[in-house]
Symmetry: C2
Subunit: 274 residues, 2 copies
Amino acid sequence: MRLSPRHPRYASLRVRGQLARAHASGLVVPEGLIAHGRGEAFDYFLGERTTPSARAAERVAAEWLLAAEHPVVSVNGNVAAIASGEVARLVRAIPHLEVEVNLFHRTGTRARQVASALRAGGVAHVIGVRATARIPGLPSDRARVDRRGIYVADVCLVPLEDGDRAEALRDLGKRVISVDLNPLSRTSQSADLPIVDEVRRALREIARAAERRKRSAAPFAFVPFDRYAALGDALATIDRGLTRAAARRRRPPRRPRAGRRPAPGTPGRSRRTP
Amino acid sequence: MRLSPRHPRYASLRVRGQLARAHASGLVVPEGLIAHGRGEAFDYFLGERTTPSARAAERVAAEWLLAAEHPVVSVNGNVAAIASGEVARLVRAIPHLEVEVNLFHRTGTRARQVASALRAGGVAHVIGVRATARIPGLPSDRARVDRRGIYVADVCLVPLEDGDRAEALRDLGKRVISVDLNPLSRTSQSADLPIVDEVRRALREIARAAERRKRSAAPFAFVPFDRYAALGDALATIDRGLTRAAARRRRPPRRPRAGRRPAPGTPGRSRRTP
């Protein structure tokens, strides 16, 4: 099916198409497609744009990543499929940021696919294709990380991360910056700095904020962040989005039905309620 | 990954597993997995149970299907994958209900797969494997129906239907009963009788209501249904669910971090904000 750029859902349908193709190649797993759908529902009520609160969080994220000794961004199949270019831009803005392949459903093939999607997006250096260490507190297949990356990181940027992993990283004393559209997910709830925004928008905004920040002479610092306020803002925005959508659709316009009469050979019609 | 029945998300994860397997066989398309994820987000806020308002709508749906001269339930890949047994039960309760294969992304193979999933679920008679008619007002590939089914139906039960098709059926003067977890979707908005409930719960409840209803001697009738009230109720429930979830998680319990000290060889930790 061809898609017109004037379709009201063009952007969203295009990303769906990207994911479906990435799925056909094995890069994205079925669970990743379902997770994307959940995110879509939240983004719809967020208005499909970066909220002022998310933008503020993205600025702090840029500051933390610049302040970090060993920052790592962890990339899974969904992120590689739709946001490899954004990861590349982020690395250009924050050159000491390591990019690590991180798969919930890990196979050697998928790890290599994530790495090559990232390279195609412009990321020169990718680690984690072979896992060389384990983080404690997780089932063995999901504990595998790169000894040069997440294992020694002080700040982990984890877009679209699984809740158990986000918690395990935080329990290790690492600062966790999550990107997740659901402010109620365990990932958002356990992160030190939860960003409630779509992953491409969020990575672009963090990169922009880092580029701006580097122009100032002030030393980078782990400035405090009020995670409760951020999550509360996101929920309030979703709530308003829901109320607004409901009001807008209370009396939806309908195409007229009265003029139509069944012509000979017309498909069946229902008797109307008297 | 093995799944414990005691996992808090067991039911939801089991359905995800069913869909992933059905997807591997080609029965469910990638877009179907994404759509399922969107539904999950809505169901979460509905409390993952049938609301009193949905139950009332399911009772009216049973009445309409019993009153119909030619009722048809249209079944796509997702419905066949997770609710074939429920469709079979519905047909036992309403024996003149035709079951028609209805695919947005139609191929002969997928149509046959839907039919065999339905047969495996206990549905003896399935139509629509070969499309023999078209409904007006839709792109040709999505207009294809069975001349003995949707084409002549007076009442169409369309679980998980695409918005364009739901509107086209309604414009033909058919009574449309939708099952869709999103009360704001075009399908829910255009249906004469929108049921905002999970498909398996909805079909089970319609079947139960039909079984009860048949014990009464009163003639079946197209009793009126207030679709605006039903959609408003669903939105109000989602809104309350959101507020409740937000309140519950305002101060999430966290595993203690204080006692942990980095032992020799322990992965990197972050300097904390003073």
